[in-house]
Amino acid sequence: SQQGEEDPQALSIQEGENATMNCSYKTSINNLQWYRQNSGRGLVHLILIRSNEREKHSGRLRVTLDTSKKSSSLLITASRAADTASYFCVPSSIIQGAQKLVFGQGTRLTINP
């Protein structure tokens, strides 16, 4: 199992702006999952991107994956106050079966009204 390293540690933007968060990891992966955690709440699954995919969209979210650089990014467009949360990237090398996810510190995103 390996941990993703999110960057920046904290990001503060104005409502309506786009937010980009980056993730790096060390060894080859099968997939990478992005999660959101509002303060004191549970982990909400956002997107899973597989190693053979380069980009994936879900609503206002866009995730990219560059396996040659061992990096991923999460873009939130037209940010809203409700997007204020911590965001985590979690890589996994498991193809099938149980996965031990290792969480990093995340990126703490603050959307200012």
Binding site: S1, N30, N31, Q33, Y35, Q37, G40, R41, G42, L43, V44, H45, L48, F88, S92, I94, Q96, G97, A98, Q99, K100, L101, V102, F103, G104, Q105
Partner: protein, 112 residues
Amino acid sequence: EPEVTQTPSHQVTQMGQEVILRCVPISNHLYFYWYRQILGQKVEFLVSFYNNEISEKSEIFDDQFSVERPDGSNFTLKIRSTKLEDSAMYFCASQGLGNTIYFGEGSWLTVV
């Protein structure tokens, strides 16, 4: 959308008492997990469970901890004799045939 549900949402217990945290994973899921998050710290893996047995556990998951799937729908985490340092948010999670892992809202445990 199906979700993982956890009870209780909050529990306060005396040190040394036994605690059982309950989870109802998503129906038809195969893999079940417990994670915990001490206030202000990272989310940490505790244990994974498949086919009615533990498939992997962390160093945190010592003899004071146990998991059980008593009736095919519930998945429980038991802490036999709680310590102050067990105070944390405990998350249950489940996974189906794919790789996506879904987490519950958590059970906040305070040991006093």
